[in-house]
């Protein structure tokens, strides 16, 4: 009887110790996305993606010796900086989250970063903010993103053209933030690489006649015409007019121009043209959708990026052996990049174990994550060429 009592007391003690340990190690991650507002149709599956990673880690019981991870959702509204700041403030001060998965749109992300994350020293990983301005924002090493900056496509475009030996191009862009931003970043990158942009001319979408634009582009000349526009808008009008007048034979198309409509409109008339758009051949995508099953739409934009953002936060915590932002913020780049064992979706438990045993991981995840520069995704692009009137994959980069 005495023995039994001792045993019971001992096990109770142990249990309570374990419970206390577990309780101390409860990790909270804020999920701040625009659940209302312009991208409210995308955000539910983004949040589900992030919470899937958290559930996977909790179930493994390996994070920081058995910590549970809970998600706290908040609404960024995508457009209202004041509301987003207030929501993030609540996450940090009243819910006391240990990291933030978010925000989504570039504007509110910048607001939350400067008003909440930096003053309170909380790590933030955005799955979808793509504005180049965020690359240079004051962040004390707290801000990361699993989406590439728009500036990145300009660099990739430059690499593609340089490899093909094109040194001189004419450039036209659709007159909006997307076109202008892409054109500017491309021009800067191309000129830095020793190329020449002979002219950078805007075109309006849906206009009646583009002969003035094509006249100016042709007069400036160049080996190739870069069309940073939309295939179902003015971009096609420019290409049509340029082919018809014999101004340019080959073109270069960024993401807005690549679609079935391009083949349909021009076919082999644009033979030999090049282009690129976001895309990856990494096995992570397939694994992610297999893992999700039918629970939510795994192919919805930025959903895999959300899973990766949440996973990175937790892996970094494990690597730092702490859930304190100031401790683990330095580890995010380490777990995301080589060297180390490649980690795909569904392998978070394996990753946590490797880190616990003192090994290194290279998180690939659902979107082939590779963080560069100030902590943003290098992005993966599919380079295409037009061959036999069809869009064909040249390679992935």
């Amino acid at each position: 009887m005495k023995k039994l009592l001792t045993a019971t007391a001992a096990s109770a003690l142990m249990a309570s110790a374990a419970f206390a340990g577990g309780h101390a190690k409860e990790v909270k991650i804020g999920v701040i996305l625009g659940f209302t507002g312009p991208i409210e149709s995308l955000t539910p599956s983004m949040a589900d993606g992030a919470e899937l990673a958290m559930k996977e880690v909790t179930d493994s019981g390996l994070l920081l010796d058995g910590a549970t991870v809970t998600s706290v959702r908040a609404d960024s509204t995508c457009v209202d900086a004041a509301a987003a700041t207030a929501a993030a403030e609540r996450l940090v001060t009243s819910d006391k989250v240990d990291g933030i998965m978010g925000a989504d749109c570039s504007g509110v992300t910048g607001a939350i970063l400067s008003n909440v994350a930096v003053p309170n020293g909380v790590v933030m990983i955005s799955p979808s903010a793509t504005s180049p301005a965020l690359s240079t924002a004051e962040d004390n090493g707290l801000f990361f993103r699993t989406a590439p900056s728009d500036a990145r496509q300009g660099v990739v475009m430059t690499e593609v053209l340089m490899e093909e030996g094109i040194k001189e191009v004419a450039l036209t862009y659709t007159n909006n933030d997307y076109g202008k931003g892409l054109a500017d970043s491309f021009q800067a990158a191309f000129e830095a690489a020793g190329g020449t942009v002979t002219i950078s001319a805007a075109h309006e979408d849906g206009k009646a006649d583009y002969s003035a634009e094509v006249g100016a582009l042709a007069a400036a000349g160049g080996d190739r015409l870069v069309v940073a526009g939309y295939v179902d808008q003015g971009g096609s009008g420019i290409v049509r007019s340029a082919i018809d007048s014999g101004a340019f034979d080959t073109f270069h198309f960024p993401d807005g121009m690549i679609g079935a409509k391009l083949e349909e409109n021009f076919g082999d008339e644009i033979e030999g043209s090049s282009g690129q758009h976001p895309g990856t051949d990494s096995p992570g995508v397939a694994k992610f959708s297999e893992m999700v099953g039918g629970a939510f739409d795994s192919t919805s934009p930025f959903t895999p990026e959300s899973y990766d953002a949440a996973a990175l936060i937790m892996l970094a915590m494990q690597a730092a052996n702490s859930k304190d932002s100031s401790d683990y913020k330095g580890k995010i780049m380490d777990v995301a990049n080589a060297p180390g064992e490649k980690i795909y979706p569904g392998e978070l438990a394996k990753a946590l174990q490797i880190i616990k045993d003192g090994g290194e991981v290279d998180y690939v995840g659902a979107t082939a994550v590779e963080l560069i520069g100030p902590g943003e995704s290098a992005g993966n692009y599919r380079q295409i060429t037009i061959e036999g009137g069809k869009i064909t994959t040249a390679k992935y980069r």
């Binding site: 002969s211 003035a212 634009e213 006249g215 007048s245 409109n265």
Partner: protein, 336 residues
């Protein structure tokens, strides 16, 4: 040789596109000007009337293509054009019966009719989108080029290519024929003369026994024919997209006003003034002057007066200047 190169480059990128675009604008502006001269209001639905006529033509063209009816090197759309014109005539006559006649009988002020025509515009706009959808439609066939840039270079040995599209040549030819027919009709036939009389002085025309309803009907029929022709030519040359016709309304009105509202000759001149100003003022002269300048003195800069962003500003500045100094337009139309 250098001078020839300069000339070819200029024709290829400025003269030919501007002449083709100018012809399309002129045909459109003729319709606007006729309505203004005879029915005395600015018809904002004109762009969408063009779209409707062109749409019927596109549908008939498709039907003909599926039955193997072709016109050899010419686009099949020319064969379908009469059907498009008939369809468009039916539409404008129904619109006139259902809408405009009511306001005419009330002797409504022109400004009311303008607003009414905007309502008609939105309905026609919706009708076209509903039937054929808002997307680009391709209906051009036949030979694409009269002469392509590559062939021209091979033939002449020049560095510069000259491309003339079949549709561009066709546009100019058809526009000339239409204008000739219209002027013959207005100046030589009884109905044409009664239309001009009605336009000049409504009361006197009524006193001399001209039936106003007949004049109005003929006007609409001619306008429908002109609008459909302009719409089809435009669609052949560029592409058929309903929204673009709505956008075309602005340059068409600018053409009609610059030329002088109510003056058919002015509408044609206005069309070319607007088209040339859009293309030439924003043209980069680097290439042309590079050929003309002596060796070693070819320009480095683009020599572009204004960026192409401002091409619409250019046509509207011309419009403003004309209205300030000649409020009736270049060809003495009616004051706006």
């Amino acid at each position: 040789m250098e001078i020839l190169n300069a000339l070819v480059a200029l024709s290829n990128f400025v003269l030919i596109p501007a002449i083709a675009y100018g012809s399309q604008l002129a045909l459109g502006a003729l319709g606007v000007t006729l309505i203004y001269g005879i029915l005395r209001f600015s018809n904002f639905a004109h762009g969408d009337t063009m779209a409707f006529g062109a749409m019927i033509t596109v549908l008939v063209t498709w039907w003909m293509q599926s039955h193997g009816i072709h016109l050899g090197p010419l686009p099949t759309a020319l064969l379908a054009l009469p059907f498009g014109i008939l369809g468009c005539m039916a539409l404008v006559l129904v619109t006139d019966r259902a809408v405009y006649r009511f306001y005419r009988e009330q002797k409504a002020k022109p400004v009311i009719l303008v607003i009414v025509s905007m309502g008609v515009m939105f309905i026609m706009n919706g009708l076209v989108r509903f039937i054929i959808g808002p997307n680009d439609q391709n209906f051009a066939d036949g030979t694409r080029f009269l002469i392509s840039a590559r062939d021209f270079k091979k033939m002449t040995g020049l560095d510069e290519g000259l491309a003339i599209k079949t549709t561009q040549a066709l546009t100019v030819v058809v526009a000339v024929i239409c204008v000739a027919l219209l002027f013959w009709f207005l100046n030589r036939t009884r109905t044409g003369k009664s239309m001009r009389a009605y336009s000049d002085n409504e009361d006197l025309a009524l006193l001399s026994g001209i039936n106003p309803e007949r004049v109005v009907m003929y006007t609409w029929l001619i306008v429908a024919a002109l609008a459909t022709t302009a719409g089809v030519l435009y669609g052949l040359d560029k592409s058929f997209k309903p929204f673009v016709y709505f956008q075309l309304l602005l340059p068409i009105f600018a053409s009609a006003i610059v030329g002088g509202l109510g003056s058919p000759l002015g509408a044609i001149a206005g069309g070319f003034v607007i088209a040339f100003s859009e293309v030439t003022v924003t043209y980069a002269w680097k290439k042309v002057l590079g050929y003309l300048a002596p060796e070693g003195m070819s320009p480095d800069g683009l020599l572009q007066l204004l960026s192409t962003d401002y091409k619409f500003a250019v046509s509207f500045v011309i419009l403003l200047i004309v209205l300030l100094f000649k409020p009736t337009g270049l060809f003495k139309g009616k004051a706006v």
